[in-house]
Symmetry: C2
Subunit: 222 residues, 2 copies
DNA sequence: TTCAGAATGTAACATTTGTTACACATCGAT
DNA sequence: ATCGATGTGTAACAAATGTTACATTCTGAA
């Protein structure tokens, strides 16, 4: 376990023994979870710090109509909802569900606070994590504020362009992307079709080829 | 100045003298600004902690087409962009402009870090502020994810309902609200008209009367 | 290989929102 | 009180997106 923790942003800069000492000064437990299990519901109080050790989690906002907007996926060794452990409104903002089997490290808030107080480097790391979360959410807002599907798609592609190539590797299905964009799947497909028609992109199975970078950029610059 | 700082979330729990001692151990300066002045552009690096002492600021995201989405207003004695001082992407997420004359306290990041290290209460306060920011942004995303103007309006009204009344006091013009919602002003006016037609609300000059709470809730629950 | 389930392309149509334009009301400064 | 700037109600029309439906292709497990 300490190998995993050592590579986590929270314990960055600490060696195995230091982590061991710190962790063993507080109460903690490991919880197993299985595929598709819901670990927390939106609105539930956040009482414990959680750090994903194995497996993959997904956070999605659920609207009142039952529809959902996938916000992000969480991979080890990241913390879960780090920005919701303190502050005035410590409630889960999303439904947290498992995409496969795995396990998480759980530390109650008071113990976690103690952990932070016990080592300045961990505290500093945590500060960076929380700030990073706020920045992630801020970018999410930037993204959601794009009005048209065309703009969202252009922004997405430009941000996922592989260095020095004209390729974007897709690790999402069109359906998955539509969820992230918060739009209907056929609507996204239509926009993709239009942009292929205009020779801006070529949509292949697992990747997208940018045929006309200038025009793609123009979508955001008009 | 210390009276103002004393009432700020950052120095909560400290008395004037303690604040005085802490502040005077680091470099700081006070900057005056005037109405409509732009204090920072979106994308600019955040190098300094800023705490609003007097006046009123506004943060707005500017999209590529020049349109804008007003994110929030900042009143004294709040910090400006507290969640963007640390972390991997410390750039202003919004254009920061003045809504009237005022002044801010400015502390360079290194000095601010020193300030945090010098007092555990201030550090703890800051942690709460940053978490609070992430939580604010998260709620913003919840809000933006509502699909229709009807839903946004219903959500807004239900969240601004004055305790134990059927009133919502408006401190925004319709135009201002349309900006916050990220929709066109006539579109919002149309939706308001429809909801008045249906006897759900009555829109008056500076307030809204809820006529049918059940139906208003039903908009989000359907 | 075969088959079922998932993902994709596409079309017709409905719904929502944006755009533009204009009349009118409101508010504050002179 | 008057004027101009700003906000508001409303309408007609355009544009974007959602909905539904169906055919086709892909994919992984038996």
């Amino acid at each position: 376990m300490f190998e995993i923790l050592k590579s986590s942003p929270l314990f960055k800069g600490l060696d195995n023994q230091e982590i061991n000492l710190l962790i063993n000064r507080v109460f903690y437990r490991i919880r197993q979870f299985s595929d598709k299990e819901v670990l927390a519901f939106s609105g539930e109080r956040v009482e414990r710090a959680m750090l994903l050790l194995e497996g993959k989690l997904q956070g999605e906002m659920v609207d009142y109509a039952g529809g959902s907007l996938k916000i992000e996926e969480i991979d080890p060794p990241q913390m879960v909802a780090p920005a919701f452990l303190y502050g005035p409104q410590s409630f889960f903002p999303v439904n947290l569900s498992a995409l496969c089997d795995g396990k998480i490290l759980i530390i109650a808030r008071n113990d976690f606070t103690q952990l932070l107080a016990n080592d300045h480097r961990v505290l500093n790391n945590y500060l960076n994590i929380v700030s990073g979360r706020a920045q992630f959410l801020s970018r999410k807002i930037t993204f959601l504020s794009f009005k048209t599907i065309r703009e969202k798609l252009a922004f997405y592609l430009l941000n996922h362009l592989k260095q020095d190539t004209m390729l974007v590797i897709l690790n999402q299905s069109q359906k998955g992307m539509a969820d992230i964009f918060g739009v209907a799947r056929p609507s996204l497909a239509r926009t993709i079709g239009e942009m292929e028609e205009e020779q801006i992109i070529r949509w292949e199975k697992n990747q997208v080829v940018i045929l006309n970078l200038k025009n793609l950029r123009a979508i955001l610059g008009k």
